[in-house]
Symmetry: C2
Subunit: 237 residues, 2 copies
């Protein structure tokens, strides 16, 4: 496997690197025409290729060959989170969730949200670099901030999905790991630092979302996202 | 509970805050004599007190009363890790492990280690602030870098302990969660980015350390520490 890994979403139909990856190949790594590279399509595919024209804006490749097509795991993880004030915490959450393997990271704003806008582009870059260094070949979908209600309305219950939300209560509700039914598509809501309001929690319960605990500790928002993602994987180990 | 929380290791025998906490109380929070504070002793105790003399170097408190003495959990988590080149990654590892709850974070250097020295003081500060914001009242022991062999020699097998090391192999070894015997004192070694050398792994196996997987993904060193800590807690949920 080449140590030069690039992200190219459609390598079979488009034999060129993005402007950003082109710059990285030519100016940062100083690669030359004929150098061996690997390509990740973010959809389970890992390819070998040779660099053709190396240009800081448009680098092309040739002799594409599929090295590996990673099987899709039988369950899906989607985390929905109210972004924290410090963007840095969301950045590492994305990195870590991608390391563990995740299918979607979706942002919402609710009553106690601290941040109303988010730079998706930067988070997508972090996801791509996490993909390059982990063994996961699937790039998660990262979606912009929407009102919590949007997700509550659009995510309907079905035989193949399980909808949960992190809930701190006394006495505590059951742990996430105890409530998971194997091989579903999991949608987990993680509230803001100030948590969901009692009204929001009541609405979620009324809409049949399952409240779950993530352990005895009070976790920061970003840590809760990691805990949920890792917990779901552990249950399937 | 007061929103002003300070760390004071021996509040019953010493009615004063450290110089650092004194500065925080007087200069940052601008608290006054008579203000209500909470104190954490890092050994399970949470106290109420009133500030007496507020001074940037030596702030004293009075009317100490115990609010809570957190029970010791029936298992212990000790992580041993080869520090990463980027200290920032170890800093967040400490923060996150403290959020989940951990008893000891110990550093070692092995053949592929990237860092030979470490600033304990900064990590201890991070542990204290994580203690203040999580519900854990136990401050972990954080110990300086020692050779891997020191720990291999000093940590002997016993009925109350379980010794494991993160091991990437093909086919993979069994997951940590599958190998844990409940309510032990767990000692988990996490190798450097370049992993343990074959010789080091062989030595660990010969010394009866249990190899374990932390999942299908390749995790960064700091992520592996979180995964092990969280995995141990999950098994006890």
């Amino acid at each position: 496997m080449s140590k030069y890994i690039f992200y190219a979403p459609n390598p079979t139909s488009e034999n060129r690197l993005s402007e950003e990856e082109s710059f990285h190949a030519s100016r940062v790594l100083r690669l030359k025409s004929g150098d061996q590279i690997n390509l990740l399509d973010g959809q389970g595919g890992r390819y070998a290729a040779l660099l053709d024209q190396v240009d800081s804006k448009k680098t092309t490749f040739t002799q594409l060959s599929l090295l590996e097509k990673q099987a899709i795991i039988p369950y899906q993880i989607h985390i929905y989170v109210a972004p924290t004030k410090q963007m840095e915490r969301m950045e590492w959450m994305v990195e870590k969730c991608c390391e563990f393997g995740i299918h979607g990271i979706h942002f919402f704003h609710s009553r106690n949200s601290e941040r109303k806008e988010i730079k998706l582009n930067r988070l997508e870059k972090i996801a791509v670099s996490a993909l390059k260094q982990s063994k996961n070949l699937y790039l998660p979908e990262i979606s912009p901030i929407k009102p919590l209600s949007t997700y509550m309305d659009s995510l309907v219950e079905s035989a193949s999905t399980q909808r949960l939300f992190a809930h701190i209560s006394d006495p505590p509700v059951e742990n996430l790991s105890k409530q998971l039914i194997q091989n579903k598509s999991y949608h987990v809501l993680i509230g803001p630092e100030g948590d969901f309001t009692p009204t929001e929690s009541a609405d979620l319960l009324r809409a049949n979302w399952t409240p779950c605990s993530l352990g005895k500790s009070i976790l920061r928002t970003e840590t809760a996202c990691i805990a949920a993602t890792m917990g779901i994987h552990m249950v399937h180990e």
